[in-house]
């Protein structure tokens, strides 16, 4: 899977173009300065758990093992427009508030089942919001987190070589190899 196919997969799975990955036609009005953006170790740990809930450890390691929280920080800092950075940072706070409202405790305090249930509800909210919003309106913060989780996990060494299959130098092409259900896809 090349980069364009990856973007397509992430877009398909989240119902929208990849934020920061779209080909921008308008001028970039923001200064490149990202002095304002940084995440605390606690926030990265939280994002690791959010990502792990989206793509958990199964027969193969999950998103936390692939250090997706750290990846999110790098991508939001270096690739996101400043206005999107802000939505993301505020999103971390909103996620915690929503979790407290739903479960009466922080996301970190929740059990795996509670986290999954909560994020499923949040994902439904995201989907509803994304389908109704106008193009120029901002994305839902969970759209960002989910996209970054998918991109970060499946391009990580763990995601590409354990959850998926990867051969660095295939050496040949077979346009008709057998495939059985549950065989891993190619990275």
């Amino acid at each position: 899977m090349n980069r364009r196919e990856l973007l397509k997969m992430v877009a398909l799975a989240t119902g929208g173009v990849v934020i920061g990955g779209e080909f921008l036609l308008t001028g970039c009005k923001n200064a490149a300065s990202d002095a304002g953006f940084s995440l605390s170790p606690e926030q990265i740990a939280l994002l690791d758990e959010v990502a792990e809930t989206i793509l958990p450890t199964t027969k193969t390691p999950g998103a936390k093992a692939a250090k997706v929280g750290e990846f999110m920080q790098v991508m939001v800092k270096d690739c996101y427009e400043l206005k999107d950075q802000q939505i993301f940072t505020e999103g971390i706070v909103k996620l915690e508030e929503a979790c407290k409202k739903a479960n009466g405790k922080t996301f970190m305090e929740c059990s795996a089942e509670e986290r999954t249930k909560f994020l499923q509800q949040l994902d439904a909210e995201r989907k509803e919001y994304q389908s109704k919003k106008k193009q120029e309106e901002p994305n839902h913060y969970f759209q960002m987190m989910k996209q970054l989780t998918l991109t970060g996990y499946f391009t990580s060494e763990i995601g590409a070589t354990q959850a998926l299959r990867h051969v660095a130098v295939p050496g040949k092409y077979d346009g008709c190899m057998p495939y059985q259900k549950e065989d891993k896809a190619w990275a």
Binding site: E5, M9, A13, N30, D78, K172, G175, Y179
Partner: protein, 562 residues
């Protein structure tokens, strides 16, 4: 040791055309100076990203905000990314003016865009060379298919083009290496299209400059199916200046390559009506240097070859060398595309692919040939391919957790997509010119682009999109959806025209041997020379025309005619 400033030949630009010129001229015994405006990129050693895996890129291939700010043109489309970063011209150092939007993607380094090209390699057909004359468009090509055919064969054998022989007039076969395989879905769709259209429409493997057999004499290994060509191939498996023409030129002992050399003008002797060499600015030291030669090959990419001409012999022709016809800078062409259709193919759930094939499928032109007649001129072809996605349509319904993850780790639907590439007619009013009010980093005037597509192309685009959907539906593809991602001129990265070939010095810049009418020892053999554009990818034609012109130039030189 003092730098030698006199050579038999000077070649300006080291991309596909310049590499070929250097190879041909050195192999024929000429001492050649190959000038390249950008830095050197050494084969294999300087392909810094060639062996990186996705996780070794900090942004996993995505362009950063800083990159987007520094490359306001490049970011408009896919070329701006982390994998090929550093292989495109610095836009701050080398700006240009867009009277109308023009996306100009340039490779200013040794090898030019030969390192970054799509490698699709097709011959023009006999109708491509005749259409202008028959339809009264632009001027007639001064050559015909038969003139170029042996040179197509010659360059195909050396470059290494894989492809299948199809026996079609519309897309002549070449001297191919064994074809890469279509996958099972592509084969099935191809068979259904053939059946539905009674053998009148064809789909086969995209012909590309990726070798399928080793070329030990060139130190090139056959394609390893990594599909990472754009990062530079450590196996030399695709044709580039670095993998093929440059080592051949060097092996003669007749080549001097000089990077960081911005050619500012062709030196012209008005009494002898001949060029005497070129002037350069050293991009690093800003020093001006003159080099002398018997012949000059301009292969600086379409617009930059024309830019050099516009800055040359201005004491005689204010608009530059080759401008006496009034056509220098005019008749800009590209290929318009970014629309087509795609859909799902059912019934191959037990099949998958191994390896990452660096080419897709091709559907040659079928409009306005034989009995087909449309309300526009010329035609288009399709490029595309079938592949299996992950998770498929069911993933969109899932949300969070283990099932979602498992679905994304399995192969999903087979999809096929095709994108149309159409011909753009040569319009005199589509032009580039010097913008003397804007200067680049070296104080040189920049180009201004004034180009648009017109009614003929807009009419064609309707067919380009609808025919795609019709064909796929006829082939049993499900959920066929058309798309039009809109096209901005230049996005094809197939700039052509601006110094066209012709039969008459009053209406063309170059003659049938790519000689500038007003300076017969100056040859222009890159995309600038194109009289019309066909709908097929043009690089193979530049190779053939360059080799042909080099052969002619050396013969003329020996006869004392230059």
């Amino acid at each position: 040791m003092a730098e030698t400033n006199t050579y038999d030949a000077i070649v300006v630009g080291s991309g596909i055309s310049g590499g070929w010129a250097a190879k041909e001229l050195t192999e024929k015994g000429l001492k050649v100076l190959l000038l390249e405006r950008g830095r050197d990129i050494e084969h294999v050693k300087d392909y810094v990203n060639a062996n990186k895996e996705s996780w070794e890129f900090p942004h996993r291939g995505q362009a950063t905000r800083q990159m987007r700010e520094d490359y306001p043109v490049l970011k408009r489309d896919y070329p701006l990314n982390e994998e090929t970063f550093g292989m495109w011209a610095n836009e701050k150092e080398s700006p240009y003016t867009e009277i109308k939007r023009f996306d100009w993607y340039r490779g200013y380094h040794v090898g030019g865009r030969s390192l970054l090209w799509g490698r699709q390699s097709y011959r023009f057909n006999k109708w491509d060379f005749e259409a202008n004359a028959k339809e009264g468009i632009g001027v007639d090509w001064p050559i015909r298919y038969e003139d170029v055919a042996p040179w197509y064969s010659y360059v195909e054998r050396f470059a290494g083009i894989q492809g299948s022989k199809e026996g079609l007039e519309v897309l002549p076969d070449g001297d191919f290496l064994p074809a890469m395989d279509m996958n099972c879905v592509e084969k099935e769709v191809a068979a259904r299209i053939k059946k539905h259209y009674n053998g009148q429409r064809h789909m086969f493997i995209g012909r590309s400059a990726n070798i399928t057999q080793p070329k030990p004499e060139q130190n090139r290994v056959n394609c390893q199916y990594r599909n990472r060509c754009w990062r530079g191939c450590p196996f030399g498996a695709y044709f580039s200046t670095q993998s093929a023409t440059l080592p051949a030129a060097r092996a003669t002992g007749n080549l001097t390559l000089r990077p960081h050399s911005i050619v500012t003008r062709v030196l012209y002797d008005k009494d002898k009506k001949r060029a005497t060499g070129v002037e350069i600015i050293d991009a690093e030291t800003n020093k001006t240097i003159e080099y002398k030669s018997k012949i000059v090959f301009l292969c600086a990419s379409s617009f930059n070859s024309t830019w050099v001409l516009m800055n040359s012999a201005t004491d005689i022709w204010p608009e530059g060398l080759g401008s006496s016809s009034g056509e220098l800078g005019h008749n800009v062409m590209d290929h318009h595309f970014r629309l087509g259709a795609g859909g799902r193919v059912d019934g191959f759930e037990d099949k998958y692919t191994f390896g990452r094939r660096p080419t897709g499928i091709y559907i040659p032109r079928f409009r306005n040939i034989y009995d087909d007649k449309r309300d526009y001129l010329r035609g288009f072809g399709y490029q595309g391919g079938a592949s299996r996605d992950r998770g498929g349509h069911k993933v969109a319904e899932m949300t969070i957790g283990a099932d979602f993850k498992e679905a994304l780790c399995e192969a999903g639907d087979w999809n096929i997509g095709i994108t149309a590439f159409g011909e753009i007619l040569p319009y005199h009013e589509n032009k580039i010119m010097l913008d003397k009010n804007k200067k680049d980093k070296w104080g040189l005037p920049v180009l201004a682009m004034d180009v648009e597509i017109k009614e003929n192309e807009l009419k064609m685009r309707k067919d380009m999109m609808n025919d795609a959907a019709e064909m796929l539906e006829a082939a049993g593809v499900k959920d066929v959806k058309t798309y039009d991602a809109s096209y901005a001129v230049g996005q094809g990265i197939h700039e052509m025209g601006t110094a066209r070939m012709g039969r008459d010095p009053k209406s063309s810049v170059l003659n049938g041997n790519n000689q500038v009418w007003d300076a017969p020892n100056v040859f222009v053999t890159d995309g600038a020379c194109m009289t019309s554009g066909s709908c097929v990818n043009p690089s193979l034609t530049y190779m053939a025309l360059t080799a042909r012109a080099a052969d002619f130039a050396v013969k003329e030189l020996k006869k004392g005619n230059l």
